[in-house]
Symmetry: C2
Subunit: 420 residues, 2 copies
């Protein structure tokens, strides 16, 4: 690409504590190459912003505001759950993208998301060949689920892992204090519908310095009620208490989620409960132990206040590398994290072809789950530990984090409206 | 008291992120007065440890271990839910206490807890007069519920408030990112069965710098479904999203908790759900908005990783003052926090008579709740802000907090066993 072109950047799918750090990496790096990249236009609410020509002019944001993205959780430009159909199935959307890109001199496309978004980015990267519009599309990895292939880990995961490990440790200390006369079992539900990476992090609460009795329920392991209750009972009898980390994706052998209780309310609506209360009630009914339960939900993926430094650094680095790859003319790629050493933890950024990333889901390897199916192996610990390493505290004002809210100045529209 | 006596210290009721900071204050201060106080014996699992002669010799703990209590959540010596009956109703227990105190030369009694524990401490303080055993009993305030009278606030509350305010802010940033195409309402359930102090803290997520649409459901305000749904709907229509902070104690006009769903499982057991899923389902059924919900439970009161510095300082100071009061011969008292200035925040420790503390519950003043019943007033903000001020991070090792686990060496028993 010889002509100086503008860049499009957007955030997609469920947001994380560090996706804005990637945005920061993209925008700060683009600003350093003003001879090659004009402005960075962010899509308001992901790819939808490109389709509706709803673009945010990031050049209107101050340097400190962009820098503050590094310590601000969530998606500063708005995210979306929207998957482009294939070129064959919905040519109209691709033609609209080209129309918007042309109207705003956009030659670079940076899409920040997980597996589905990698697929969207892959499709956009093919516009050049298939529809004759030159675009350089680079995917910036992001997902708390840690399920993208090729990359050693996904930005967003390390911070959730740290949050869940710390929360499990803290709550376990709590129940250990109470167990003599009160609560004996604490159950926390974590995210991860298909892959048990986040649940695995809960087991990291038990350390070499202090063993904590924890039973983990993975989506990768079919739920066996008897075995599970026996495992909890054994730990309560030995330690006086037990913590349970249950993934939202835990299911019975027939594939039905534990969270689908089959309960109906007075109006006949089915009760959409969490897995944690189901497991907790099960423990009380069968073992008689007093319990407490928590559902972390958004708290876990938004918890920038206790983000992992490794994670923040990698989120920024992948955003930066995406721009550098694009400037070198690489299309249809993704910066992937390559672990080069465990102790000390060292990593570098490599380039992965998007065709090998899109629509591939990386599950927990069997070698990471302990034989009884309720814990993690040493290998898993060695994998997880560096990802949770280091603290990266946001600045505070009056006891509250100083997260930035951008001005989000709209780029004037040039085209007719588009119906989604 | 002229003879040098040992001290008894114990933790009672639900633990907090900073109750061990009070323990640290008690033990470190006692160690500074070795001419007057011998050893500090901690009760294993609260007052039960005194009754069963299950004492922990804190002199066997190193100076760094005791110092580390300041940054360790939960009750390091074990807590209990156990209320002494009155002297008239259960003289046997008081006689046993005296027997244990005599056997171990205990002349000081420090009890660290909330309203019920203040009552226990008050009863022990009367042993001297009523049963002829000289003991100096001082209560050390602790409760996340912030419901003790006289004291401006209770150690333990400021840290929960900070955690809930930050978590609500972070999750609100998250839902704000998602609301265009996905989740529009986020519901978080917080502790506080009778008093809405913790729920009020959720409203602190909205600041002068960034307005966040939040609807708070207080236990002090009878639940009005229509008004509530209208409030949520209005905010979603204006902001695109809304966060709801619901106290576990929210109830219908007839006094029934929202969490009592009346739901039954396949075996006819009633489902002990939280208030959050009930509220969330209500929103979807009536307004059709996609929701997410979280239940913070123990995570909130154990979250030492984001404790308030004000809170940690005050927890330590009340422990320290308790020993100093006792050394001056004050019996049946409690160190209370007196706010002397709001900006800058200044406070000092005063002495409150236990007779005025025990069994009195301090609710949110009506002037702290906004007219519509769904928010907090400026006065409430001014009260809460200083309590959440400052961060007091624990040290970390390999990405995890370095919380201390004490050796808890038992004091050799001298008496016959006692049946509880």
């Amino acid at each position: 690409m010889s002509k100086k072109m503008n860049a499009f950047y957007a955030q997609s799918g469920g947001v994380t504590a560090v996706i804005n750090a990637s945005a920061c990496g993209v925008i700060e790096t683009a600003r350093k190459h003003k001879n090659k990249i004009g402005k960075v236009y962010a899509g308001r609410n992901g790819i939808i912003g490109a389709l509706t020509e709803d673009l945010i002019d990031t050049s209107k944001e101050s340097k400190p505001a962009i820098a503050a993205l590094r310590h601000t959780p969530s998606g500063a430009f708005g995210s979306c759950r929207f998957k482009l159909k294939s070129l064959e199935d919905n040519k109209r959307e691709y033609e609209r993208l080209i129309e918007v890109f042309k109207a705003h001199d956009i030659g670079y496309f940076f899409y920040n998301g997980g597996g589905d978004s990698a697929d969207t980015c892959l499709k956009v990267s093919q516009i050049g060949d298939k529809m004759g519009y030159p675009i350089t599309a680079v995917h910036v990895p992001k997902t708390v689920d840690n399920d993208l292939p090729i990359t050693d880990n996904c930005p967003g995961f390390g911070s959730v892992a740290k949050y869940i490990a710390i929360s499990t440790m803290e709550a376990s200390f709590d129940v250990a204090s109470m167990c003599a006369t009160s609560t004996k079992v604490f159950v926390v539900e974590v995210m991860g519908r298909h892959a048990g990476w986040i649940a695995a992090a809960g087991a990291m609460a038990s350390t070499d310095d202090n063993e904590i009795p924890i039973v983990v329920l993975f989506p990768e392991v079919e739920f066996d009620k008897e075995k599970f209750l026996a495992a909890v009972d054994e730990k309560v009898k030995k330690f006086g208490y037990c913590s349970v980390v249950v993934s939202e994706g835990v299911h019975w052998p027939d594939g039905k989620f534990l969270a689908e209780t089959g309960l109906k309310d007075a109006f006949g609506h089915s009760q959409l409960g969490g897995a944690a209360p189901v497991v907790a009630n099960m423990i009380q009914d069968s073992l008689g132990y007093k319990y407490h339960w928590a559902v972390a939900d958004y708290l876990q993926r938004a918890a920038r206040h206790i983000a992992s430094k490794s994670d923040v650094d990698q989120a920024y680095a992948t955003g930066k590398a995406a721009v550098e790859f694009a400037l070198k003319g690489h299309n249809s790629v993704m910066p992937a994290i390559k672990r080069t050493s465990n102790k000390p933890y060292r990593w570098k950024i490599e380039m992965a072809p998007l065709s090998k990333v899109a629509n591939v889901e990386k599950m927990m390897p069997a070698s990471f789950i302990s034989k009884d199916g309720f814990g993690i192996t040493k290998k898993c610990r060695e994998y997880l530990a560096p990802l949770m390493k280091g603290e990266d505290y946001p600045p505070y004002k009056n006891g509250m984090p100083k997260y930035v809210v951008l001005k989000k100045v709209a780029v004037p529209k040039k085209l007719e409206p588009f119906e989604l």
